[in-house]
Amino acid sequence: MKITYDWLKDHLKTSAKEDKLIDKLTDIGLEVESKENLSEGLDLFKVAKIIKTEKHPNADRLKVCDVDIGKKNIKKVVCGAANARKGLITVYAPPGAIIPKNKTKLVVAKIRDVVSHGMLCSESELNLSNESEGITELSSQKYAKKIGKSFFSKSSSNLIDLSITPNRPDCLGIRGIARDLSAAGFGSLKLLKDKKIKSNIKQTLKVKILKEKNQGCLSFGSCLITNVKNKESPQWLKEKLISIGQKPISAIVDITNYVMIDINRPLHAYDADKIDKGIIVRNSKLGEEFTALDNKNYKLEDGMCVISDNKGVLGLGGIIGGTRSGTELDTKNVLLESAYFDPISIRKTAKKLNIDTDAKFRFERGIDQLSIEDGLNKAALLIKEICGGEFSKIDIQKIETYKNKIIKFEPKIFEKITGFKISTKEMINILDKLGFKLKKEKKFFNLSVPSWRPDIVQEIDIVEELVRITGYEKIKIENPIKGRLKNTLNQPQKLFHFLQRAVASKGYLEAITWSFTDAKYNDHFKEAKKEIKIINPISSELGVLRNSIFSNLIMYVRKNLDRGIKDLSIFEIGPIFYGSQPGDQSTIVCGLSAGKKSRFSWIEKDRNIDVFDIKRDVIQTLVEAGYDSEKFYLDNESPSYYHPGKSGRIFLNKGKDKVVAYFGEIHPNIIKKLDIKTESLVGFEILMDNLKLPKKPLKDQKTKYLVSDFQKSERDFAFIVDKKIKVQELVKVISSIDKNLISNIKVFDVYEGDNIPDNQKSIAISVTIQSLEKTLTDNDLEKINNLIIQTVENKTGAKIRS
């Protein structure tokens, strides 16, 4: 909502400075978004007279004009306007001036080799009207003696742009803002001079509101003004509209706009001669069409509130009028409409047709139902004053009568909510100035809510009015009490934070990417999951919810590789989605690592990052998070986006649990398709929701401290086994022989090739044998040694290598 202090003073008696006004507006909830001096630089625009024109030597359509800008100063200006002629008084803008319409700053320019000192302006360029044909023509009668003077009259009032919250339709009118200010003690509200239409003429255009289901129009007031002469608005009206950044059009249109802004009463003016017989307000029928004042053709659906005549739709009530019945400069008879439309009906229609107008913006927030007559009176009187003619009596049709809302308000509730007190006297004063009618009962007030406040429906709304006007700075600070009744984080939240920092500590940079992604990328990683489309995505590249974090992460890895970063590890912890219902999501820690280890190191040989690097990162993270790696079970059934031979999945326990992680090289086909240029790309996903949470807190998880100081013995074994046998099985077999004696099983060599039969491999394992109870004798050791060999041979078909 754009206002000026000058306009505000039409309704508010005050002598306070503008700075104070700005602060006060914000203090009472009418936030000042910006303050702009519209007239700054406008004094540069001068009234000037063309004293000579010549054809431009190098261009047929251009003229070179000698322009008298006063004080015997003649400037040469190149001009393309057809109406530029000797003797014309017009508006001259010198170099340095900023053209109001497009905000460009003029400079001395050479136009086809002729230097032009400034410009002659059209009305459109000066934001005076839409007239862009030719330069402004000023009447020589009025302006002959003003050559050299500033064209714009000086206005000191700034343009103040307010951000009005959607609950305050009343402040979409200057008077509403003035009322709020007066309640807050900033000036006093001027009484409106009760000027009413006096007429004996009947309104002869019949208006009928059809009583239909969901009729969007509840009342329709009208006034017929005959024999008017529509024209340019008088200076005061033009200046008023220009002062808030609006463009004057014609007197009738300007008057309706002025009334709308002044008292938030939208009106519509029809050319009465273009209405066939009478007006019918009704629901539209599917397929009806009309051309609106925005020059677009709208196809209507069933049930939209339309103003129509015998021929069809004239306009959408409260939203936009039609071209068929619009007023023009030659309009003779005007029908003024001042109606009340239901906010929900307005909103539905405007949304469906995607129309946004000043009227719609106001009606959908709720217009004062009792302002119908005020609006007609004010506008009709102005039309008669400016355009002449005769007005009829006001005609009002309605299908519903407005009822005052009554609220019971207990004053003590104010302190309960705000924590501070104000006197009942103060309360009454504020409410009275805001327009409430108040009846004091014993313990409460009976409040009648003003008709312009649709937002006020219950007690708490009254508290808000009172505290808002009193000032939020009066609220006393109650310092918080330190202390905690409940843990800040629950176990999954603790795990989340732990995993986040554990993965980061392995050299990964944490990224946060969108929860949505490009379906093209997502397709590579979604597996059997359902694609979840966003109906109205910001762009097609962000059209689906991600089924995997890889969909985004891999794209950013590629971007970084393209930036020339060769070795990088990034991860994200966040949601992936498997359905479109709330809760169909799970938390994943997902990482990608690309390139080499030890690139350009003088001391270590570089090598590609491999699956065992990423396996270490995953296992170490899980171990750090408190899971026992000795119980982990791995197999290689990983999703299809991993390299089928160089990837795996991890379970916390064999058989019983859900998968907790996948890891491996990314499938070479995907790397190729996505055109990722790197030596190696490996990734992992930890499925946080599948990680079982410990039942006991950490303090109770520590087992008894048991170590042996008896001599330990390290034995090495080399087994030849079938290639299909996994090291994991071999280690499990050995470790389960005797948990008390055998520990620290290490695989220190794996070999295939010469001296080993095809389809077999050699695995060398070191085992630590130590007793908690005694020093083992050679005999004991030999026994356990043999037991290990026998058991491994029996259970896996391995042969000890001799």
């Binding site: 203090d27 009472i28 808000e464 800040t488 500590s505």
Partner: protein, 355 residues
């Protein structure tokens, strides 16, 4: 007797020469070998007269010890010299780079969430969460934002179905609804998380982060709201003095509602919080609307309290001098490295929020 002294003196003199390790070993054999000069002497002890024997033995032992010590000393001296000579050759250029290491970082938004949680933890808030996909009821209707209400225009919403019943939450406020439906009052929670609006330019991203706060009890008023936010802002920005302004605003789910600005000034293009006379809007808040309480079956005549919503990304930008919101989600390795935090830098109350 003088014989022992002679031997001793003679060999001490000999050992004073610059000898090689072999020469010293030769001397050692000459003295202490099987038939060495000293060894032979010990064999004669038995034949010494009883009166002289004690002294003889004592002199002999002293001579032995002295010579042995001297030999050990000489050997150590030569060994030491050898090692030093060897080490002299082993010098490396210690300014060569260490073996390569990698360093990960935590995203500034994550760090900020941890800082926020840490501050609210101190005054008794616990952390709640809710899903990113919400139904229309929890995101709007239950929060007193009925269908076809212009307040919905303040949220450009992403929808997942044509009927507009399922959406990406536009704020963290639906967590209020979930929390209050799930438990019984009092409530004292914060809910950080991802939020979504179909809005995208330099200062808006289609996804951003908010933290919701909710405190409901029998006697919580606007003074408590002011106190809580005043405390939070001071702690978060780690400044002694903060200028804060509550100004009336409107949110359908709170009444009365406020927006909070903090004072700042620009110094060399950087925002300095707490000083100066410019205002920066950082959050919205208010007393939970009685309609909202009714919707979650909490009796508004018994319980009341406040709620707030803060933009986390914006807080991080202000605190850590980050200019461009879009960069948060662009995963530029250089940016993540520059603005990220060491994973060991866990915000905590006892050591201060940030280093």
């Amino acid at each position: 007797m003088s014989d022992i002294k002679n031997i001793k003196d003679q060999f001490i003199l000999k050992l004073k020469n610059n000898l090689s390790i072999d020469e010293i070993n030769e001397i050692k054999t000459e003295l202490f070998g099987k038939n060495g000069l000293i060894s032979s002497k010990f064999k004669t002890i038995g034949s010494i007269s009883e009166t002289d024997r004690k002294k003889f033995a004592s002199d002999l032992n002293l001579a032995k010890d002295e010579l042995q010590n001297l030999i050990t000393y000489k050997i150590n001296e030569i060994d030491g010299k050898k090692i030093n000579e060897k080490l002299e050759k082993e010098k490396v250029d210690i300014t060569l780079p260490e073996r390569p290491f990698v360093r990960g970082k935590v995203h500034p938004v994550s760090q900020t969430i941890d800082e926020i949680s840490s501050i609210f933890s101190e005054i008794g808030f616990s952390v709640e969460e809710g899903p990113d996909v919400e139904n229309e009821y929890n995101n709007f209707t239950a929060l007193n934002t009925p269908d076809n209400h212009p307040a919905r225009d303040m949220h450009d919403t992403f929808y997942l179905d044509e009927k507009k019943e399922v959406l990406l939450r536009t704020h963290t406020s639906p967590v209020q609804i979930r929390t209050m439906l799930k438990d019984k009052p009092p409530f004292k929670i914060i809910a950080p998380g991802r939020t979504y609006r179909s809005d995208s330019d330099q200062t808006h991203a289609p996804m951003f982060h908010q933290v919701e706060g909710l405190h409901i009890d029998t006697n919580i008023n606007m003074g408590h709201l002011k106190g809580c936010l005043n405390y939070f802002i001071k702690e978060f920005f780690e400044v002694e003095r903060i200028k804060m302004r509550f100004r009336p605003s409107h949110f359908p789910f709170t009444e009365p509602s406020a927006e909070v600005d903090i004072g700042y000034e620009l110094k060399d293009g950087k925002i300095i919080i707490g000083e100066g006379d410019k205002w920066l809007e950082i959050l919205g808040c208010g007393m939970v609307h009685p309609n909202v309480l009714k919707n979650v079956k909490v009796d508004p005549s018994r319980y009341q309290g406040y709620a707030f919503g803060i933009g986390i990304d914006r807080l991080a930008m202000l605190k850590y001098g980050i200019n461009d919101l879009r960069a948060f989600f662009d995963s530029d390795y250089r940016w993540l490295n520059h603005f990220g935090f060491d994973p060991h830098d866990v915000p905590s109350n006892y050591r201060g929020l940030s280093r």
